[in-house]
């Protein structure tokens, strides 16, 4: 499908119609707002079925090649689908680590065999992916990964543990960063990158309870787990480069992701809706001067964020720091979202002190949960503070911390 203006407009109309007819109704349980929060079998089954439905209709990975399950279309089409998913408040497309990180990575640097083996099942939701980068003692210091993979003939024997493994207890595969050589001069050169099977002896994913009280990620233990050497992606010792590339997909620095709808976005409009339900000093809360100023500050930040994203596409307006806006994407958006959601709890007065389990909690504790859950995005994938280091060093040229 080419992307003429007419064809895109027609497609927009088609997709709106499809969404109206096919976006599932809210089930009788709270759905995860992000892919980091799939905590029950019930949620998983629901989301897997929904992803499969979207793919079957031809609306997932539309710009991926047809031989791997995509549609070979212009990326603009997927952009329209993703916007429509947001606009129709559709449940998230949950297999994010496969769809947005592993898939594009394989299309970029994988072998033909890898692509044939993995990509279609990522799109259909048949195979779930997780990521094994962070370790219990090395959250942000990725170069210091200690999980060992020792070659034994045509296998590697893996020992160690990974933490914050989102979807780990459900996953079929993991993108795994492990140390294959402890003797290299640079710590980075001893790392290798694997497309590792999860359902083998010696791999155990233990769910971790989160600050929200829910589950969604795991600590994953490897105890003499044997994985085929053919699982290596790239060269032995070339894992750091692969990991960095993965992070670029994860942070949205480069495009190619199958669907941007991995989080149900919560915006200022949602916060404005909540404004109708509360009072301060016996008057509608929207008349409160302090509240008004906080909302205006959020609106300025939201607008500046989205216009900056657009400005990144105008090279003549980015000559001083050419990649600064893209590299600050995660820093800007996740911190804004944190402040927005915190405000959602603040406006509730005493009710803001209730949580999900209380039947008097406003919207079932939606805002409190959203605020807590947002830490997944300001911590996961390189914390805000690591992002600040990256921007400081790579955009401004400041010395390494």
């Amino acid at each position: 499908m080419s992307a003429t203006e007419t064809s895109l407009q027609n497609f927009q109309a088609d997709i709106d119609k499809w969404m109206l007819e096919n976006v599932p109704k809210k089930p009788g349980f709270l759905l995860p707002l992000t892919f980091l929060e799939v905590g029950t079998e019930q949620q998983l089954d629901f989301l897997r079925e929904w992803q499969h439905k979207l793919w079957s209709a031809g609306f997932l990975g539309m710009h991926w090649p047809t031989e791997y399950g995509g549609q070979g279309a212009d990326p603009a089409y997927q952009g329209i689908v993703d916007k429509a998913l947001g606009a129709h408040n559709a449940p998230i497309i949950f297999n994010t680590i496969g769809l947005n990180w592993t898939g594009p990575l394989l299309l970029d640097v994988g072998t033909e065999e890898d692509r044939k083996r993995y990509i279609k099942n990522i799109l259909t939701g048949e195979e779930i992916w997780c990521q094994g980068f962070s370790e219990p003692d090395h959250g942000s210091d990725l170069g210091n990964v200690q999980t060992r993979a020792v070659r034994d003939g045509d296998e590697f024997i893996v020992n160690g543990s990974k933490i914050w493994t989102t979807l780990g207890n459900y996953a079929d595969h993991m993108i795994l960063l492990a140390r294959t050589d402890t003797s290299t001069a640079r710590k980075y050169d001893g790392l290798s990158f694997f497309l590792a099977p999860m359902k083998v002896a010696g791999v155990e994913a233990r769910p971790i309870r989160k600050v929200t009280g829910e589950y969604g990620f795991n600590e994953t233990f490897f105890t003499d787990a044997r994985i085929p050497a053919s699982c290596l992606l790239g060269d032995e010792g070339g894992g750091w480069r692969m990991a960095m590339k993965t992070l670029e997909y994860e942070r949205g620095v480069i495009a190619g992701q199958a669907s941007a709808h991995s989080m149900q976005s919560i915006g200022l409009e949602d916060l404005m809706d909540a404004m109708h339900d509360f009072e301060r000093d016996g008057a509608p809360i929207l008349e409160d001067a302090m509240i008004r100023d906080e909302l205006v500050k959020l609106a300025i930040e939201a607008k500046a964020n989205s216009i900056s994203d657009r400005r990144a596409g105008i090279p003549a307006l980015n000559t001083d720091y050419p990649f600064g806006i893209a590299l600050s994407n995660k820093y800007r958006h996740t911190e804004y979202a944190r402040r927005l959601k915190m405000m959602g709890a603040h406006v509730q007065g005493a009710q803001g002190a209730l949580f999900m389990e209380d039947d008097k909690a406003y919207m079932g504790g939606f805002w409190q949960r959203a605020y807590f859950a947002n830490f997944g995005t300001t911590i996961g994938g390189g914390t805000t503070q690591i992002q600040a280091n990256i921007i400081g060093e790579h955009v401004l040229g400041l010395p390494k911390s």
Partner: protein, 375 residues
């Protein structure tokens, strides 16, 4: 599309791109640090030959129609020029002049074309707006009688000493807002008292217009909206200038953090300095995005609500960002930062000046609230 966020338009024309390149080079060439320092002490605050070059480049008429000798490129074309001047802390009466042209053009009619021709031809002009310190006041305290004779004075009139034309905001006998066009030469030296400004690259005076006869008086239903638009465009141009100054301030901080050592380490490796510097950077990019967004929303007609929102957001964000940048620049330069000699002094002074032009961040956020929240 959400109502509260509204338009996300950002255009950047080929002309704007060329002007940005030319203006950056021009300012780099004409306003090096030594020249900025030299002009701080001068009476005029700017270099007459440089002003002439700038006039020859057509910048005093960039926003004006071709019929009065301008380039017809609108306010959008001024943004890259003003931003570049902010970056080089260049002293010039350009912003005062183009703002006067905008006010006169929007409040007046065909009869005012001669004044606009003067301006596009290089005569400096300014607007006498403030009665006192309140940007949110009515500021029509100068009365203009039926013969066009003024009574009362105006506070902090920018670049008044240079102005061939002064557009004085006041009111007529009926109490309606008017714009009196006064020839600068009609205001005697005794009636002018120059201010000691916090930003020494700027010049402003209190002017007593009592007894001065206006050359003509603009009245009628266009005046009120022209004044409103002048205030918004003034806020936008101040924001554009602030963005430029912020980027230069940031570059100065980064340079220092990359060269200064303490405890055997470059101080830029300390996150306590690095992370706030990143916040200055992100704030600067956000301000710049909002400034260019606002310039995309302005045309020759009365400003739309979208344009008003954009100008106010740009000013609020750019003011707070330059304030933060200037403040941190002094702090991060340590003992040196506390000295006159350090350029941080120029930036924190520019920040303090910029914040107070056309209303500070709080002024604009207060006015954004009904536009965003009560729609």
């Amino acid at each position: 599309m959400s109502a509260i966020i509204g338009s996300k338009k950002i255009d950047f024309s080929e002309e704007q791109g060329m002007l940005l390149d030319v203006a950056r080079e021009f300012v780099k060439d004409k306003s090096p640090g030594s020249e900025v320092r030299k002009l701080l002490e001068s009476e005029a605050g700017f270099s007459e030959p440089v002003w002439q070059e700038l006039v020859d480049l057509g910048w005093t008429g960039i926003n004006l129609p071709e019929s009065v000798g301008g380039s017809g490129l609108g306010i959008a074309a001024l943004i890259p020029v003003v931003e570049s001047m902010g970056k080089g802390l260049m002293g010039t009466p350009l912003v005062s002049t183009v703002l006067a042209a905008e006010l006169i053009r929007r409040a007046g009619g065909i009869a005012e074309e001669d004044v606009l021709e003067d301006i596009s031809g290089g005569c400096a002009a300014t607007v006498a707006y403030l009665d006192g310190s309140d940007w949110g006041g009515t500021n029509t305290g100068v009365s203009v009688d039926a013969d066009g004779v003024l009574s009362g004075s105006k506070f902090m009139v920018p670049d008044a000493a240079q102005a061939t034309w002064i557009a004085v905001v006041g009111s007529d006998a009926a109490g309606d807002a008017v714009v009196a066009l006064v020839a600068g030469s009609d205001v005697t030296a005794q009636a002018q008292a120059s201010h000691a400004l916090i930003d020494l690259t700027k010049r402003a005076s209190t002017l007593d217009f009592t007894g001065v006869k206006a050359q003509r008086v603009l009245s009628g239903d266009k005046v009120a909206s022209a004044i409103r638009d002048y205030l918004l465009i003034g806020a936008l141009l101040t924001a554009a200038e602030a963005v430029g100054s912020t980027s230069a301030c940031l570059a100065g901080i980064v340079d220092y953090l990359k060269t200064r050592k303490q405890f055997g380490k470059l101080i830029g490796s300390f996150q306590a300095l690095k992370h706030p510097t990143v916040d200055i950077y992100v704030g600067m990019e956000h301000s710049r995005s909002l400034v260019y967004h606002a310039s995309s929303e302005i045309d020759d007609g009365p400003l739309s609500t979208e344009a008003e929102v954009a100008c106010r957001m740009a000013k609020a964000k750019a003011s707070d960002t330059i304030q933060y940048a200037g403040d941190r620049s002094v702090q991060f330069h340590g003992g040196f930062g506390f000295t006159w000699e350090c350029d941080s002094s120029l930036f924190i002074r520019r920040a303090a000046w910029s914040q107070q032009q056309f209303g500070d961040a709080m002024h604009h956020r207060k006015r954004l609230a009904p536009l965003l929240l009560d729609a």
